[in-house]
Subunit: 714 residues, 2 copies
């Protein structure tokens, strides 16, 4: 049986991220060169905690510091070698670092995998060096590593000194451009403590930094931008670690459309994978997926302010009726709940606000009280202190000079007296002093109602996910289930239906009774034992398209019909396929009337391994695409989630006077299929149970057809 | 037959919007009062084209201008009376204006319909005055009317002098707060020429200003914020006028969720209507619906830059690979098309850009060429001049100081040489000088990739709508079809099924053959003539639930079965309902096997009148909600659009080896139903054809069941 390599043990990246001794190889005095810019970032803008060694064989001195001719010549072994030499020299420098037993090398140099076949060969050599020496390689083709919380920039980016707001957000990206865009969102008033931009990922990947951040004490929220995922199991291990440490991961992955997939592939030359599978995996591991950078920033910055508590109710506090209605509308459309205020909240609002104010939820104070800062602070504070609320939205429709400044001050003051987050929305295109005060106060105000509510929806959903998954550890796929590319030489075979069903039955999966009769009399006896109606099919390895040659009879209601079917089928087959070897007649019980047709399929995703697709069966699968997906193995929670995520759930729970379906049996079936796939993970390529018949409660859930594709043991 | 009032003829609003003589009634020297602020806006910040008369019986002079004791005492009749007196005096002032034959009154005063029963009574009196005198009333409870293009503010808003960028956008809102928010989007660099904020709308409504803007030469794009629509037909007439004049209308209507509906109702006390119907009407009339203010601004400001041409292809020009991929992804996800460049474009890009740049679409120049402004201008200009393109997206991922300034300059320069709009996206949270240059250049840069692409999608879709509706005038509903609230005294009756079907048949709608037999022999003859199988149902006005008493037999395959059914049904009915008057047995041909079950329903919307809902039939209607809606009457284009909007369209066009369905007959049926409803508009309340059987091409589309609810002529 073939085995696959288990995911690599992750090294501790602490020395890479908090190095004491750094060597800059390729340090330069040309200010616009990679080596020159990196030198400037390290000397002029970084806080070094130990020695910085400059390596350049052509110099003895640079900016008053001694230059060493080689890594080998350094007086001590650096924790990190930052390599800024041209591509032509990079390999020998890396080799030298490995020989010196440098634990970490950051290769800034470009001209590798992204530059064609020669670069790819060089990358393969880098991989070999890393594997042979144990030295971990970061890059190549990357802007470097930025530890903002320590004030350390092992990067050539001229933007480094401009984006140095310390903070609880950790950022792991592949490309540098979009990563720097996120860094500039520090402008919102909350900083990014660490940014890893891993470039071509010959060794260290985004996953390794997610793993690091999951236990790093200075990082509360993990943000990642992905164009492709090189190592699925490693990525999943990192996500599990983040989940176990209660840290939210917010991810933007390019490749949801064919255009995006193609562009990302041409940019990074990495496998982008299937967007549907990717999103399913994210959902399964509690990753908060966003579609755009602004959504990412709104969401991550909200998480950086506070993690969600157990209350999900939303409060709205506002001084414009139209804005209150717009915000309430967005809350409703997002499927969130406007809280009912506690009686004591309502009492304070009634006593303090004028008669014409709306004191329900949303609260509309009207603009008339905008001049009374104390009244706003008190009533907003009362709303925020309401025990039914998970957060309070305070939309500010206008930049209104002094009035808005006062509003910002009251929000800041009210927030100081409570822990429920108040989320101000700065709706105006005009950014005034009030906006700047909210930013300085750490409120990171979203810029539109829709964006704010979308962020809050994700925040609430993650809280729910955390609670529902507390204690139910994410199952680690067995090693054999790890993704494995199909070798060109492997043969994929489809099992005969009867054999596929035999294996499922063997694995304890219930199916309708079926057996092969070798005589007319046995056919009748089998049918009598199963109960009617039954279907009869010719059983022969030589006959594939049974219906076409009259080899199938359905709806046989009694023994006489079964015997007649034997005669008809045998005559027809003898006529059309006189040379076929006949095993007899396959007699199968037919599904009872009623019931619902669903389907479950399993495919092997090249990044993550076996994935189950579950949903409405028949022609509706393709047309209505009411399907949901999960990476295998499933937990019981996963199986329940899959069933409950279907749009057509009301069909199962008893819509329009139908009896409720046997959901328990359906969930059991999905789990059993998951176990079956895991047990055959090394060879099973694809599986299709379509339709699955689901009866009323107590009647069970039965696959009516089964297709299994297997990789042959060649 | 009852008649309803046709929508009012719209007065010409020119004198209201461009008045020569204005009277300010309630002019005050208290700077914070409504009268004082309005006075300041008119004297200090407006460009008056004629005399301003101040009316205040307690003063003889205000700010050096003469005060008149009353409207009656003015030396000439003003075009507009701006009324800023307290609610208690407002009615008598309005009365006085009407007596003086003032054509337009703007009532700024609040304390009317929004303030309870007494205010509602006062509003009723305002309506009467307007109706009796012909004076048009604007307001009450509104911030006033702002004609930016003329520099005239008949408003008390202290923000008036800050939002005076002239421009091609017209804005019509009800509330003032959100309207001012949109006004502040002038910050994007394109101005709003006219803002009407119509408050409680006792007479003039948002619709009247859309109508005005539709022909106003200085307005190119119409933007509206709605909390409710008071007069559906008037609103539709205005939309028709805008469509005929080729002006896009961008609308945000609150009330998509129950929370939003409730909040809007409590804010404006107006009927919010059904969000589904509203969106259907918008789609039908080419209105561009948005969900949030930022979407509204991104979309409207794009339209203000340029209307879409006939090319729909998108180009992307960018200097970051990750950003290029993100943008391409968003374009694909939005269902837009990345253009294939013309050969001459590709040639220029290949010759000019370095080898490592991506010269397909998206173009990724890489950051390496950012220093070469001339190269960027030339290659961006070449892309923008490509004849296959409708627009070019130029995302700018970072604020990067001098580099970004150069980028902004090249975009501005490239745009000067072509008409295809270049849409720069300013993605960074950091707004630098480059952003300000793009704003000053009139580019109104969207602030995220997703927002930009969403705006472009709406822009492209509107262009398509315009082209497909050019020449097909929007049908004007007949007067009788106008919405009419059901009087409390009116009785709603359900027609017997046979009667409902009789009327449809009479109107030329094909149904399966059905007739009432009064004897066993006639039943058999009818069935023989129709062809089998048939269904038999007891025909009696006294029996509603036929199945419950054994009054229905389905699947009768031959004459003998029909005769047997007669005996069984008559016996069962005689047993259960011995006193019922029996007409005989309804014999109906059953639908052929195969075919698809769809449905069409008609309801009367309180705002807009009769609306058709069309979609998948059976239990799927409610669960999958694959339905589409149109206001009646339908045009042939509407009927075709409805069919093609269904998610399950592949069921009709021949998915999975099915034969294509008779779509032509289905569209004909929808049109015939529309005609039927219009012919009975005064009395028809509701109609339900569910299921409608649709056979393969040539087999037709037949309603199998028909329910009609009628308002009785009491």
């Amino acid at each position: 049986m073939p085995t696959t390599t288990p995911s690599m043990a992750h090294s501790d990246l602490s020395r890479l991220i908090h190095p004491r001794f750094i060597a800059l190889v390729g340090a330069s005095d040309r200010p616009q060169s990679i080596g020159g810019r990196t030198l400037s970032n390290l000397i002029d803008h970084s806080t070094l905690s130990g020695e910085l060694y400059l390596v350049n064989p052509t110099k003895t001195e640079l900016r008053g510091r001694r230059c060493w001719p080689s890594v080998a010549s350094l007086p001590e072994t650096p924790d990190v070698a930052v390599i800024a030499v041209p591509a032509a020299n990079a390999l020998s420098v890396v080799q030298e670092c490995a020989a010196r037993r440098v634990p970490f090398a950051i290769i800034l140099t470009s001209g590798f995998g992204e530059a064609g076949a020669e670069g790819e060969r060089a990358e393969a050599q880098l991989k070999e060096i890393a594997a042979a020496s144990g030295m971990r390689i970061y890059g190549p083709n990357c802007p470097g590593l930025t530890n903002v919380n320590q004030g350390l920039g092992m990067t050539f980016s001229p933007s480094f000194p401009h984006d140095l707001v310390k903070g609880p957000i950790g950022l792991a990206t592949q490309g540098g451009g979009l990563g720097r865009n996120v860094m500039q969102a520090m402008e919102r008033g909350i900083g990014i403590g660490l940014w890893a931009s891993t470039g071509n990922e010959v060794d260290l990947q985004v996953a390794d930094f997610i793993q690091y951040m999951a236990t790093a004490p200075d990082i509360k929220v993990i943000v990642t931008l992905l164009e492709g995922i090189k190592d699925g199991p490693r990525f999943l291990a990192a996500l599990r670690c983040a989940a176990e440490n209660g840290k939210p991961v917010i991810a933007l992955k390019v490749g949801k459309s064919e255009y995006g997939r193609r562009a990302a592939q041409s940019h990074t030359a990495s496998l982008t994978g299937s967007a549907e599978v990717n999103s399913a995996v994210f959902r399964q591991y509690g990753v908060i997926e966003v579609d755009d950078i602004d959504e990412l920033v709104d969401t991550a910055w909200l998480f950086a302010r506070a993690l969600p508590g157990t209350q999900e109710g939303i409060g709205i506090y506002c001084s414009s009726g139209g804005t209150a209605a717009l915000t309430a509308d967005a809350v409703g459309t997002a499927g969130l709940t406007l809280a009912e205020f506690a009686p004591e909240t309502t009492q304070v609002l009634r006593e303090r606000l004028p008669d014409y104010a709306a004191i329900g939820n949303p609260v509309d104070t009207t603009a008339a009280i905008l001049s009374d800062a104390q009244l706003i602070e008190q009533t907003l504070g009362t709303v925020a202190a309401d025990p039914h609320l998970g957060c309070v939205i305070a939309p500010i429709a206008l930049e209104y000079g002094e009035t808005t400044i006062r509003m910002a001050q009251t929000i800041i003051a009210a927030q100081q007296r409570c822990t429920t987050p108040i989320v101000p929305i700065w709706m105006s295109d005009r950014l005034g002093e009030g906006y700047r005060m909210l930013v300085a106060g750490g409120f990171a105000p979203p810029r539109s109602v829709g964006k704010a509510v979308a962020a809050i929806r994700r925040w609430v959903q993650w809280g729910r996910w955390q609670r529902s998954h507390a204690g139910t550890a994410l199952r680690r796929p067995p090693a054999a289930a790890a993704a494995a590319a199909v070798q060109a030489t492997a043969r994929i075979e489809s099992l005969p239906e009867f054999e596929a069903k035999r294996r499922l039955r063997q694995a304890g999966i219930a199916l309708l009774p079926a057996d092969v009769a070798s005589s007319r009399e046995q056919a009748r006896r089998l049918a009598d034992a199963m109960g009617y109606p039954v279907v009869a099919k010719i059983a022969s390895a030589d006959i594939v398209h049974k219906s076409d040659i009259g080899g199938v009879r359905v709806g046989l209601e009694d023994g006489a019909s079964v015997e007649a079917a034997w005669d008809q089928i045998m005559a027809s087959v003898a006529h059309h396929k006189p040379d076929a070897a006949i095993d007899g007649l396959l007699i199968e019980k037919m599904a009872p009337r009623g019931g619902i047709e669903l389907m479950a399929g399993v495919t092997r995703d090249p990044v993550f391994g076996h994935v189950m697709t579950f949903g409405l069966g028949g022609i509706y699968v393709e047309i209505l695409r009411d399907v949901t997906r999960r990476l295998l193995p499933l937990t019981p929670q996963d199986a329940a989630d899959m069933v409950h995520e279907m749009r057509c759930l009301p069909l199962l729970t008893g819509a329009r006077g139908r009896s409720p379906a046997d959901i328990a049996a359906l969930q059991q079936l999905l789990l059993a299929v998951s176990d079956f796939v895991m047990a055959h993970a090394a060879t099973l390529e694809e599986m299709d149970l379509n339709p699955i018949w689901v009866g009323a409660e107590g009647q069970g859930a039965l696959p009516l057809d089964a297709v299994i594709l297997e990789r042959s043991h060649a």
